[in-house]
Amino acid sequence: MSVTFPHMGTLHIVLKALLTALGVRAVPPPPTSKTTLEIGARYSPETACLPFKTTLGNFIQALGAGADTILTCGGQGPCRLGYYANIQRDILRDLGYKFSMIVIEPDIASVWQALRRLTPGGLRPVWPAFRLAGAKLRALDAIEQAACRARPRAAVAAAVDAERLGALAAVDAAATPAAVEGAVATSLRRLASLPAGGWPEPLRVGLVGEIYVMLESCVNGDLIRRLGQMGVEIHPTMLLGDYVATHILRDRAALRRSTAVVDAAAPFLGHYVGGHGIKSIGYTAAMGRTGFDGMIHVFPFTCMPEIIAKNILPGVSEKAGIPVLSLAFDEQTGEAGTVTRLEAFVDLLRYRGRKGFFQSSNNPAEKRGV
């Protein structure tokens, strides 16, 4: 059995570790690229949302690379994600692919069934496998956060990217939770000790919206890295580990955080609308109050929960006194267009706060020397 799964950011590192430790062969799809998007969009319904198309492309590429089993998630709505697997299975079958699909629905019976199918050698490796995967999950989040913090401050932003890639590779290679922790500690130290010389007081901008577009750099115009280069300390409100803690493990601290966000959203949006719509509202309201300079709201074109959020955000922005930029992404989105809008938004934030206004050159170090 060769198991593949959809990409989302760096999730493949976690899933590969989990499946390998359970005793099955993991075949991660080739990294998501423009080709993936093209293939996926070609066989998808026209107005399906971007994650549907991209993950379909992932599956086609992985089946071509020798996978015979697809592991993916289900759901109970009202977001479309819950219905993805069903349609993707039909599309792939009609294209002539032979495979089996393991769909994990959010109920105990379904999780148990999936686990039995993925542990041909018995349940003995389950606990250590999940421990290793959990350690990697936490490590990846820590690395992302450290990189977001370091990028605007570093003299050379590209050095941060290189460190980050090295750290991801080290986490990927680590075979035990202790090794993961060792690798991540080393990487964090190295990130912190990169020579400073960028923006001493970067803008602080929150990133809200739909988790897939937020985490998948190939579809969002590499937004997190680019904002870092523009001198912005970006705070993604959703990372892999946080998502797993809230929705899968139902960890108490994470749930408390989630309740606080829903409370902050209540004056503007009174009910869960699927996906992360209510969090986009709640985080914007809360981060506006805690001194953030701006918010960026990203989502796939036609995403239902985030379209509701988008229509409510102008009012939240006004009440909370924080500028918000909403960006929709689909397979037609051009990178240059995204960058121009980000630059304009960052300029606006600088003018607004006059924070580093006189350092508007691309090379702040040189300016300060004058």
Binding site: Q76, Y83, N86, H271, V273, G275, T302, C303, K310, I312
Partner: protein, 301 residues
């Protein structure tokens, strides 16, 4: 003077509008229904970004009513059955209207029947309280209103022989709004086509047909449409063709429509997908309908 309560003519109005209106009258309010959708209504709704045409039209209706009435009646229908949801945009509707029309008095009770009927009872008594009615009276008023005009199938077309038979599948708030649907039903009738719509299918039969799908369609109204479409396809004499009419950017329809297209093609029934938005040109639509009906006629030869 009794307080006036505006009911926008859109979305779930096409399922429950008559019941809402009768209920509000019994509570002593004066329901005011917005006029039929026109271009002007859709333009008035254009302020809402990136939503589907029916939601834009709905907002147009709400905006037109807002200055003229004391309240707007906008129940938040989260779910009307266990395991089912409404579309997210319907769930978020009161918040979108509140954000875009600040200062409007909304009556927006939450109805969520995923965990029993409690929330419906609370919604009924809550609306009653707005008009100073006791819980008991409100429940009685709802009961009478529901009996008087429970949602019934508004049958369109009939089964004459010899004519082309086409199943026309689409949400009632698209099909029965001749501005949004560009009167597709009327146009097909002129072309000599006998149409059958989803509301002609017995809800129980539709439910059974939908239950045969490998995955539960968790959007209630889409599930009903899909079930009806599958009943048509599975009938002893399936229709000559199937037209699925949807609004551009409708989330649930984008996936459910794909599933119906595949089911229809497996059964050899030609399938036409019509996605409509405010830029759809009437001439283009007519051409597509003509081409489709020509194709169906040729297949019959």
């Amino acid at each position: 003077m009794p307080p006036t309560v505006g009911i926008p003519r859109g979305l779930l109005y096409y399922y429950y509008g008559d019941v809402w209106s009768a209920f509000l009258s019994r509570l002593g309010a004066e329901p005011a229904l917005s006029p039929e959708t026109t271009r002007a209504v859709i333009e008035a709704g254009g302020r809402i970004d990136e939503v589907c045409l029916p939601v834009k039209a709905f907002f147009g209706h709400a905006r037109i009513l807002a200055d003229k009435v004391d309240f707007l009646f906008l129940p938040r229908v989260v779910s009307v059955a266990a395991g089912h949801y409404s579309c997210p945009k319907i769930i978020g509707l009161p918040d979108i209207v509140r954000a875009a029309l600040p200062g409007t008095n909304l009556i927006a009770p939450t109805i969520d029947l995923r965990a029993g009927r409690g929330s419906l009872l609370r919604a009924i008594t809550g609306v009653g309280e707005t008009f100073g009615r006791s819980s008991l009276y409100s429940l009685y008023a709802w009961q009478r209103a529901w009996r008087q005009c429970r949602p019934v199938a508004g049958a369109v077309g009939c089964g004459k022989t010899g004519k082309l038979r086409v199943a026309l599948i689409g949400h009632p708030y698209i099909l029965h709004d001749s501005q949004i649907s560009m009167d597709v039903a009327g146009k097909l009738a002129v072309m000599g086509v006998d149409i059958a719509t989803a509301d002609r299918v017995d809800p129980r039969a539709a439910d059974q047909a939908a239950a045969a799908l490998p995955k539960n369609i968790f959007w209630h109204y889409c599930r009903r449409l899909a079930g009806a479409a599958l009943s048509f396809l599975g009938a002893s004499t399936p229709p000559d063709g199937m037209i699925f009419i949807t609004s551009f950017a409708c989330g649930p329809d984008s996936l459910v429509g794909e599933q119906l297209r595949r089911q229809a093609s497996r059964r050899g029934v030609p399938f036409l997908l019509l996605a409509i938005d405010e830029h759809t040109a009437e001439a283009g639509l007519v051409t597509r309908l003509e081409a489709f009906t020509d194709l169906l006629r040729r297949r019959r030869l």
